[in-house]
Symmetry: C2
Subunit: 135 residues, 2 copies
C-alpha cells in the first residue's frame, strides 16, 4: 500500500523535503528503528525474509528499487519505488524481496520495533507453514 509522505518544495534548485511523522497517517506506528541500505549494484536482490509482527514503511530516497511482497497465499505485489515521497507500507507476514534497478539507489526503512531476531522468518518454506498456522 503506497502512502504519500508529506512533501514540501520551494524553489526547484533547493530541492524537496519530505516529512514522516511517527504515529501518523503516513507512518502508522512509533518509529523505534531506522535503517538504510546503500552502495548496492544494479541487479542485486536483497531481503528474502518476513517478519512476524514488525511493521515498516519503505522509501526509496535515491534511485529506483523494485519491491516484491508475497503474502504466502499466492498473492505477489510488485512495486517500483522511484519517488522519494512514496512510502510503501509493509505489514507483518509479508515475504519481501528488493531488487536494485539503478546503482547506488538508497532504501530507507522506518520500523516499528527494535531489532529482534526472533521476529524474522528467513526460510521460505517456514514462512508458508507460518502463514497456514495463522489462518
Amino acid at each position: 500500500m503506497l502512502k504519500m509522505i508529506e512533501r514540501k518544495s520551494a524553489d526547484p534548485r533547493n530541492g524537496s523535503l519530505c516529512v514522516a511523522e511517527a504515529a501518523s497517517e503516513s507512518v502508522p506506528f512509533d518509529i523505534n528503528r531506522v535503517y538504510y541500505i546503500y552502495g548496492v549494484q544494479r541487479g542485486v536482490q536483497r531481503g528474502a525474509h518476513a517478519h512476524k509482527t514488525l511493521k515498516q514503511v519503505l522509501i526509496c530516497v535515491h534511485g529506483r528499487i523494485e519491491i516484491s511482497l508475497d503474502d504466502g497465499r499466492g498473492n505477489v505485489q510488485t512495486t517500483v519505488l522511484n519517488e522519494p515521497s512514496d512510502g510503501l507500507y509493509v505489514g507483518p507476514g509479508m515475504w519481501r524481496t528488493m531488487k536494485w534497478l539503478q546503482d547506488d539507489s538508497v532504501l530507507l526503512v522506518l520500523a516499528s520495533e527494535h531489532y529482534n531476531e526472533a521476529d524474522y522468518i528467513r526460510d521460505y518454506d517456514e514462512f508458508i507453514e507460518y502463514g497456514k498456522r495463522r489462518s
Copy 2:
C-alpha cells in the same frame, strides 16, 4: 559530534546496511519525526535556523553535504558528511546551515520531536539574543 551508525556489510556488490535504533548511543532520543531532503543542486545552502529544544541526528545517505553549526558564542564547527555510517548529532541552540557539495545528495534527519513551529528560531539576531538569555 560525529556518531557511528551501526553498519553491516556483506558481499560488496550487496552494499551496506546502517541501523539507527531510537534511544541508543547513536541516536540518544526517541525518534518522533524523520525527514529527508533531496533533489538539491550543488552549491545550494539550506537550513539557516536553530531549535530551542529539538535534538537531531543528520546523516548524508548519498553524496556530500557540508554542515556548519554555530553555537552563537563565536564557535562555528564545519563538517563534511560523505559517509552514510556517520551521524552528526545536533543539539538544541545550534544555528545550522547545510551546503550541498554534490548534486542529488540526500540528507536524512532523525528528530526527537514532532513538528512544532514554536521551537524554531529563524532570525539570526534573535538566535544570538536567545543564546544570551540562556547563558
